[in-house]
Symmetry: D2
Subunit: 342 residues, 4 copies
């Protein structure tokens, strides 16, 4: 971190100026200390200019490599569409630049494997993948409880992932790749085991589901240690954004995602509002994630979900998408874990 | 109900003087109005005498048929072990006596079918099966909500059935026949559909499970209407008796079994006690069930879970026990539903 | 209990055939075992006939004394309007008949004192006062917790008593005598102390309150042991019937009345229905109260809230009604407690 | 904000290097974007050096005025002990510097009035007082709900403020000045009314209270609009840090502070952990408060709780401390509100 004129404030190039990218620019500028947005990159130059223009001294680019070569760029935040990730990640690794890469690492396991191999050749971790649930305070409480061992070994996870509705063009594979991928990473992280096989059950679709979308679904994961994870994914549930997880251990169960905030008694009912979207529900988690990345990077470290985590998630998603189509129990093919990610 | 000397107080013969039978004798004697225990039957004569002796004017028998023929017996409550049910039920049907039969109707689908056929020949319902969850106030709230249609069609049920621990000799089939049978009946009742197929997933057992018992398990039911039901059954969970059910509909979800009673803040924690056994959790449901049976019977009606419900539950249990052993999706073979149970 | 032709089934004369009386007749007839309604009394003879006519063998009366002298009457349930209680209670005590008397014992402390003295002269308890909260399962949990001493001495109670709305003619003193009287008894029972003084604070009334009714109010009780009890009484709250109590002890706090039953997620909110009236909220408590009275009476005992409890509640209510008018701290004048109620 | 070499990063002088001051230094350095700690001031020079030494380019001072005169200081955060506030605030106002002042504004109403007058003479707001509850997300939800008017006018607030235990030397006035002051400000803010009078009830103290400390207490506030606020303050409750508030309106009630985070079922109980101190419970509120101050200040604005709010809180606290001693209803003497704080 000795490049550039502001050694103690991390200069970040944000790749991608869409909804997520613009939100990260705002976060780095206003919410998180210790960093400044030096560059914004988008293939749509006007969009890049528009977002860069909000930050004093920030330069717009259309080429990620050019941005990474700028003198005041110390680190890269990748928030472009998934298919563009691999190229940006390899460019950052070539320059030995720290990266926070929004999930997915890449849309496919093969691409993820190439990134993984590039980082392995580099010999040290530079990539943190944006599985932001690991930074949510309730997930962190749950992880701490399981790691402390008070409930014994974890035997099952019961999960639900519900969205109010889907945008046009949302497909069944997107239910896996965009939604369940979070539960896949959370399960791997909470249990500290890999996913060995996947099944998908498809109830008769809700009449609120778009034509042709089998919504909801029940995704069943088996881990290498023999735990079972069930995930209700219901992306047109109509009533709110709900993410819940219950861990069942040998001596107890723990639940997160159930009850938050203010309770109102009125009109014959008592209860609370349900968040309507993930940016509301997980806003603090995004803030904490980026803060943790900035902090670690300023201290020369790379922590958090690794490229291996990104690769494993991609491999499980591929198996789950096949399982959606066939209805069969589908094993997950996973390469050997390099020592770097031990 | 015009036999005997007390036409307006129902004279009941209780078959079986074990834990459940004795509890029903106490209930009929002290808790529920409009009935009296006229006879107690047990193959162990001493046990029958001991329980009968607690009620003024109650006679002990060792032969169910003899008890049913007594002049002051208007109705029969069967609480003997499952294998003895079929004979008692057929004897009651022969005499056209109303019966409340503790679950299971019979331990096997074939026996249940014979009972069903006998009642069908009789031409009117006389049997109520003791699926007491239908009389629990929370299940009744849930049923009313689903029937009202406010949540749209029900797509999934997420259930958990947890016991503190099992007595010696408890087997994997008993997890189905004694525990999950309640969820099987509840699912059929709540959804108003039959179960079409069963799968069982078996996580690595808890170290607290007895040697050889694969505990917990995840039972997956598919209904004829395409709904999916998952049931965690965990009979050595160690921490309490928990029965939960969440119904997921097209426009909302509803949950029962989560929060009850007093909440205590002490020692750094805030929360509630968990019931330790089913007689505590479902005491009011048992009272309501028997009261409903006495009321209906005094008015010459038979209501509640029918012999068909008992038969269907037995058929699903048989499929589930096979599914436990094979791990396969196992279809449920169900005969045609007689018009009597339309 | 050796009078009459049915020595083991308690013959009860119900005094008062209004809403509460008719409900108790139904309860004794259908819900509670071990009793039958032998007589129904009301000064309105037609009303008495109408209610008595629903029960086989039950006789209608207009004179309480005549009913009590009937051969098949073993016990009396007083559910007439408060001003008629004293005469009925004294008549029952003259005949040494067990009584369950709906609250209030009498509307005034002076009348209550005369009843108390009559029972004291009789030399044994015959009266149970209908403070049914003592039979609510949550209150019983709270009482058991406090008596067990785990939370140390109880320092404060925070209570709320809310009704949807009031009938025409509801007055400020009725907020004390009909509503807060329950918290007064509950506080005395939970703390095992008498109330020493009362204050009433009156916020600017809700615009939903009837003209002239200062609603809500905050009633503050001080006990002889120095505990402080605050009671929000809000009888036109508009949204439901809520009764809550939190006990704050030296080492923890416990709360009842907060969360019940089914929780529904729909329309962007998650929560539960609130009961709309006391018969819904406390139905089980009424059943348990009457059952406990029948059981005790059949065994020759008198238990539950005593005439002393009825007298003390009346004395506190009188002080509270004065405190409503003056705004001052008002001491409670209480006679000495006879040994019979030790 | 045009002084100094870093016009877009706010240079802050932190006055006071104790627990709160050091925490704010860490927050400005690591957590909040857009600011840097330019100076740390403490009368204990070694302590100032120790804290300043953690931040690159930060200078230690023992004299607040000298720090404020430094070229890279754009704003002041006052976190010194209360008695030192007035001098620091007046010095900042002389230099027209924006200030975030930890509560209390000053320990006494007279001092607060002098600060208020100085700012009034200056003609524009420069002071934000650190009532951080206004930045807690649940309080903000409650405020938004009340302001939206859905519950009608607010009639009562029921509050509880509990600490695990007190440090040595904690006095009864500190229960008002350090603890209840937060409820005083929250009540004024939520209701948008001033406090007109105060009463304090003192139950028999907990045996866990230090010798001589009457703990818990019940503080009763009346507002100028006729609302009533009750506050349980219990600073040696032993079991956790709990802050709760229920607003009772004409058409409904809303509650905050009840349920958070993960729920664990184990050992026969189901529940959640209670936070043990205010830095855990309100950590996010502190972060949001300081972020809001930095943001507003960078844009040349002063928002949040004003010097008038600080003065009014001091006046209510003075009345409450007198009410503690006398037990009487004690009116609050409040000057007229300058137009600047309209």
């Amino acid at each position: 971190m000795t490049r550039g004129r502001t050694p103690y404030t991390l200069g970040v190039a944000v790749i991608g100026a869409g909804r997520m990218g613009a939100d990260h620019v705002r976060r780095l500028d206003e919410v998180v200390g210790g960093a400044r947005v030096s560059a914004v990159v988008d293939i749509d130059g006007e969009r890049a200019e528009a977002v860069a223009g909000r930050v004093r001294g920030c330069v717009a680019h259309t080429d990620p490599a050019a941005a990474m070569d700028a003198g005041d760029v110390d680190a890269v935040l990748v928030a472009s569409p998934g298919p563009a990730h691999e190229e940006a990640l390899l460019a950052a690794l070539e320059r030995d630049l720290p990266v926070l890469c929004e999930k997915p690492l890449t849309p496919d396991a093969a691409g993820a494997l190439r990134v993984l191999e590039a980082e392995t050749r580099l010999g040290h971790r530079r990539i943190q993948v944006g599985f932001m649930r690991r930074y949510d305070s309730e997930y962190q409480q749950l992880k701490a409880l399981l790691d402390a061992g008070e409930l014994g070994r974890t035997l099952m996870l019961h999960c639900a992932h519900r969205n109010v509705s889907t945008p046009p063009g949302f497909t069944a594979p997107m239910m896996i790749n965009d939604s369940v991928v979070h539960e896949i990473d959370a399960a791997r992280w909470l249990l500290d085991e890999e996913i060995a096989a996947v099944r998908v059950l498809r109830p008769t679709p809700s009449s609120a589901a778009p034509q042709g979308l089998s919504d909801p679904q029940l995704v069943l994961l088996e881990t290498t240690g023999g735990a079972v994870v069930d995930v209700e994914v219901f992306v047109n549930c109509g009533f709110g954004y709900e993410v819940r997880c219950e861990a069942v251990g040998e001596r107890g169960a723990a639940r997160i995602g159930a009850a938050h905030g203010m309770s109102v008694s009125a009109g014959g009912r008592r209860g609370a509002e349900i968040a309507q979207d993930f940016l509301t529900r997980f806003r603090d988690a995004y803030d904490r994630e980026v803060r943790a990345w900035v902090d670690a990077t300023r201290h020369g470290r790379t922590t958090g979900p690794s490229a291996w985590d990104g690769y494993a998630a991609a491999a499980v998603c591929e198996a789950a998408v096949r399982a959606q189509a066939t209805g069969d129990r589908t094993p997950v093919a996973l390469g050997e874990r390099p020592a770097l990610y031990g």
